[in-house]
């Protein structure tokens, strides 16, 4: 479980996060949604410790990252898997080397054990056999899946995904969404997904938090979305005609089954 308390961050005197508190449960796909510029990425990077917040606490099952010793911090970081918006694969490494990297840095596994684990995770993301290709030689969707494979190779307790399906076609996007959800269930991870993709939210969102102007505006499940009268959420979610129509049907029929 990840607990965030009163997270505050400003850049050059301009507040970007204004005291956000939230709890993200284990074994669930937690979605952080909001428009571009709402503070989602700063929020996620603050949780990850990539940005130092001005105020507030982030605790990982009771462990506060910046209060830990260097050794404990490293141990905690080994429990984190991160899928970056731009994949962040190392260009000069092959796919296999990319996935092996966390194992080589932090474990004493033999080459054979690492190779076996690489093949396992590549199979999980349905990319067996591309071990010797370079990131530039595969498509964006495949790169995203390799990013996921690298993130899960050490069987993380916490999985973070920043806009995991941005720029992907709908079918690949759904594949990525389902993969994240399946891995969350399989490894029992606390998963945080930053997104503004409504399809993703409806596909895998179990707990949803809406950010607007650096504040938490709403929190609930995907079913709650259809019955809330929160104007910010309605404005964000039902901005498209398709979703407005879906809402009308759901509200009229009085039930929803995802």
């Amino acid at each position: 479980m990840i607990e965030v308390k009163d997270l505050y961050k400003s850049f050059n005197g301009k507040p970007v996060l204004k005291g956000i508190s939230a709890t993200f449960e284990k074994g669930k796909t937690n979605m952080i949604i909001g428009r571009s510029g709402s503070g989602k990425t700063v929020f996620l990077k603050s949780i990850l410790g990539l940005i130092k917040p001005d105020r507030g606490i982030v605790s990982f099952d009771g462990r506060i990252l910046d209060q830990l010793s260097l050794k404990e911090q490293r141990k905690l970081r080994m429990e984190m898997g991160v899928v970056f918006q731009g994949n962040a694969l190392f260009d000069s490494f092959t796919i296999e080397e990319n996935i092996k990297f966390p194992m080589r840095m932090f474990t004493n596994m033999s080459e054979a054990e690492m190779k076996k684990r690489v093949d396992e995770v590549l199979e999980q993301v349905e990319l067996s056999g591309i071990n010797n290709k370079y990131p530039a030689e595969i498509s964006g969707g495949m790169q995203k899946r390799v990013g996921i494979a690298r993130a899960i190779v050490l069987k993380p307790k916490y999985l973070f995904c920043d806009e995991p399906n941005s720029g992907l076609d709908p079918k690949t996007a759904i594949l990525i969404d389902n993969l994240i959800h399946d891995l969350t269930v399989q490894y029992d991870t606390t998963t945080l997904v930053n997104t503004h993709d409504m399809n993703s939210i409806m596909e895998i969102g179990e707990k949803i938090i809406l950010l607007k102007d650096g504040k938490k505006q709403w929190e609930g499940t995907k079913k709650d979305i259809f019955y809330t009268d929160n104007p910010d959420l309605n404005d964000f979610v039902f901005s498209s005609t398709l979703f407005r129509k879906i809402k009308e049907i759901v509200v009229k029929e009085g039930k929803i089954d995802f």
Partner: protein, 234 residues
């Protein structure tokens, strides 16, 4: 930044792999250009010196002497370092800068890797240990280029040239040149790494960072060339 760069590597095996890769990227791949430039500049220095020492009363050995002194004291350690600041400095700044803007450095940090140590220390060690060898190669080829040019033009005989390069030979000149090289090699790795590591923005900013890195590395080399010369030779 330097404090985090100069810490013990997390995985020595990976550090040494990176070190040898940097030796190849930053050192071995520069040998061709350094050799080419050194050979021809050596030739040019000899021809220009010979033209200016046309007085028959002046011993021809001074042509070789002047070539050797120019190459060993200044051209190889300082000007080759400035050329390397352009080639290698822009390479370091742009590769690290690209890693920054594509979140590869964030990926290292979030995994718990000390990214400054992982990315910068092998480069610093590679330049500091390999560039003295590169500069010795440059000195040799510069002097060789002078001999070839002197012979081809007929401006200096081999015997005079060989007498010249051995005349008033000061072993400390080599030490002085290598001390300068090590200091400049440190700047060639660290200043561009700093510009690359802290770049913000996109491709344009990476390009600007590379340019700034080359400018400031060159300026620092020129200033420290003066300081070290005054400290070591005066």
């Amino acid at each position: 930044m330097l404090k985090e760069v100069f810490t013990r590597p997390q995985k020595p095996k990976i550090f040494w792999e990176n070190y040898f890769r940097e030796i190849e990227d930053l050192g071995i791949k520069s040998i061709g250009l350094v050799a080419f430039i050194s050979f021809f500049i050596g030739g040019v220095v000899t021809i220009q010196t010979a033209r200016n020492l046309s007085n028959p009363l002046i011993d021809k050995l001074y042509i070789g002497y002047a070539t050797m002194k120019s190459i060993v004291l200044e051209f190889s350690p300082t000007f080759i370092s400035i050329i390397l600041a352009g080639i290698v400095g822009s390479y370091i700044a742009s590769t690290i800068g690209t890693m920054r803007i594509t979140e590869q450095i964030d990926a290292l940090d979030v995994m718990g890797v000390n990214s400054k140590n992982y990315l910068v220390l092998p480069k610093v060690l590679a330049t500091v240990t390999f560039y003295p060898l590169l500069i010795v190669i440059s000195m040799f080829l510069g002097i060789l280029g002078g001999w070839v040019a002197g012979n081809l033009t007929g401006m200096v005989l081999t015997e005079d040239y060989l007498r010249g390069i051995r005349y008033d030979f000061e072993p400390f000149d080599i030490t002085y040149a290598l001390i300068k090289t090590v200091v400049f090699a440190f700047f060639i790795a660290t200043i561009p790494a700093y510009y690359g590591y802290y770049v913000k923005g996109g491709a344009l900013e990476v390009g600007r960072a590379a340019t700034q890195a080359v400018i400031w590395t060159s300026v620092t080399i020129i200033i420290f060339n003066y300081i070290l010369t005054q400290l070591l030779l005066s």
